[in-house]
Symmetry: C2
Subunit: 219 residues, 2 copies
Amino acid sequence: MTNAPALRTDGLTPKGRATRLRIVAAAADLMFEHGVARTSLDDVKELAGVSSSQLYHYFEDKSAIVSAVIEYQTEEVLSGQQPHLAHLDSIPALRAWRDVLVGFRRDLNCRGGCPIGSLGSELADTDRHARAELAAGFRRWETSIRDGLRAMRERGELAPGAKPDDLAVALLAAVQGGILLSQIHRETRPMEIALDTVIDHIESLTVRPRKRPVRSRAR
Amino acid sequence: MTNAPALRTDGLTPKGRATRLRIVAAAADLMFEHGVARTSLDDVKELAGVSSSQLYHYFEDKSAIVSAVIEYQTEEVLSGQQPHLAHLDSIPALRAWRDVLVGFRRDLNCRGGCPIGSLGSELADTDRHARAELAAGFRRWETSIRDGLRAMRERGELAPGAKPDDLAVALLAAVQGGILLSQIHRETRPMEIALDTVIDHIESLTVRPRKRPVRSRAR
DNA sequence: AGCCATCTGGATTGTCCAGTCCAATTTTGT
DNA sequence: ACAAAATTGGACTGGACAATCCAGATGGCT
């Protein structure tokens, strides 16, 4: 009865851990491609190469698998954007990050949404637990972006009136909205435009190099 | 065998038309709330107060109902934003439109996504026909926004370098991304920020007789 | 080796659900 | 009024699906 939440691999043997991971990865793939509701556990079993008893040995029920998938995809998304995400503290860095995200879309031929965004769209209103986990994931994402912008602000590269926290939210919204439009139109353009527009805006809040007030405060 | 696509009411008697509309409206409500995959036709039958034979008299199968729902929701979304949507040709008009959209979110307590955006997220990769219809709907939405911005541009209120078409896409992406974040966090703030940021950007591209662009008003 | 927890296989159950069918009722056109 | 067409009621079917159960295999540990 080892039903720890999500990716916890508490008292599992290496083999058990591998099986569990195979289940989660298979479920994540299928749910990414077809959505949660359209992913049957039979499909998961087949792709993961396991039988019913394994599924229910490692997970309480389908919603526990969904929970694990959310955690898995959150890590996947955040780690996939490294090292860019940890240093979004300049316009060039933001543009490079943009290129990475657009590249992901292109590689997928604009199919599928955001691995966690589409889960949010599907689950936010039907599964309170899932919603909370996704909200936490998005907070982490937002925080990374925000920290970069705050660093710019503290270095005096952003105008005093600029609000790094709000700009971070706007960037994240541009990512999500851009992905959705790209998914529906099957073109990367909308996503490029959405991101470029917000980054352009941030650039317009940038103070010119010659006027940089150098402060040598710690942190 | 009167299975015209979507809202067509070809050779139907008034009673038949009413029944058909009741089905579509019920399906739209349920699919908005629970998603397409989680909406059973039994639920639709119950809410619409009809029996199996009616469903299959007016619609070929579930996907035909989905198709009708897409058309229905597209009209619902676009008409719900009138008259604002037809005249987004000034900063105050954009801000008023923003307030309307945020108001919708607030009225729904941040539950549910965009009536057509969430359909897109769920169906874009699984139903080619649905994807095409949704893409067309979004094009109409985008076109309305774009026309307003183009009018500003032609009146010389936007800087020569500003691209109204791109700004329209960015606004739409902000709406969609903002709604998603608001849905996940159950707060209207993300949506407000996303829209305000893009509108601020447009305002910064505004040419005024004398004044420099001013920062956004209080939220 | 040999014990015990961990892990695995697969048949099974009960429910839900899309779609079918046919007969009954109402509406329309003349 | 009366036939034809449109509309409606509800039982039924076959399949898919989440979840259960128990027997059997594996592997770590002393």
